[in-house]
Symmetry: C2
């Protein structure tokens, strides 16, 4: 069983921290009301890892965190995973037509976007969630 994804937009990297998300015009109506949210959850397609080898990878060394034991891909944010879905919580800083400007999107230029969801603190914010110590030693994602 499989699912088929449409790409609804694409990333334009502006600087280290800032990106634009160009939503394709046929999906632009889906943005109505989005300006009322300060933060969004972006789900993107890690297209550079959409390879047979990456998608068969189940254990990795989370290198950016200097982890020296192999970790399951579902226990880290490895871009190599069965489904190359990336997820970032971003700050929405501007909207111009079908283009969103966001801060904190950890995705390369030209990355396809598959979904945009509003960030809901009641459901999505767990400030005291427990993580292993290695998570605190690298970048935030």
């Amino acid at each position: 069983m499989t699912g088929s994804l449409k790409f609804i937009g694409v990333v334009e990297k502006i600087s280290i921290d800032e990106s634009k998300i160009h939503v394709h015009s046929k999906f632009c109506d889906g943005l109505k009301g989005i300006a009322q949210f300060s933060h969004l959850i972006i789900i993107y397609w890690i297209h550079l890892r959409d390879t047979e080898a990456d998608r068969c990878t189940l254990r990795v060394y989370p290198r950016r965190h200097k982890v020296k034991i192999k970790t399951g891909v579902f226990a880290c944010r490895s871009p190599s995973r069965p489904n190359p879905l990336g997820l970032c919580v971003v700050e929405l800083t501007a909207i111009d037509g079908c283009t969103l400007t966001v801060k904190g999107l950890d995705a390369f230029d030209e990355t396809p976007i598959v979904d945009i969801k509003p960030y809901l603190p009641r459901a999505n914010s767990v400030h005291d969630a427990i993580v292993p110590e290695w998570v605190l030693k690298g970048p935030s994602t």
Copy 2:
């Protein structure tokens, strides 16, 4: 351009708040180390909305929140959206082999799972994110 998803597991609903996620045996190695996290992000395939009509829907009334103005699907958590991806932050309460027990997964029985990610408070917790007032009037998701 499209992306193709493999289903890595399936939901078994236990009670209103509790579910089991049965990870298919071929993906089970990807769970190594997951017990060190208290919370996970589950991305699932809203299979009942994988229809042409639902996937062409761009504006909805978020009914559970009694919203009376049409809202873009990217500005709410509508299950009708171009890609029927659902997302929940859940608490991990038990692990038995390839089966995770979680609290807070808002997905029906037999829903396919497409990804499991560890919840990282530094990157994922924004307690003061701004939302419109209607978001506060219904259920948390």
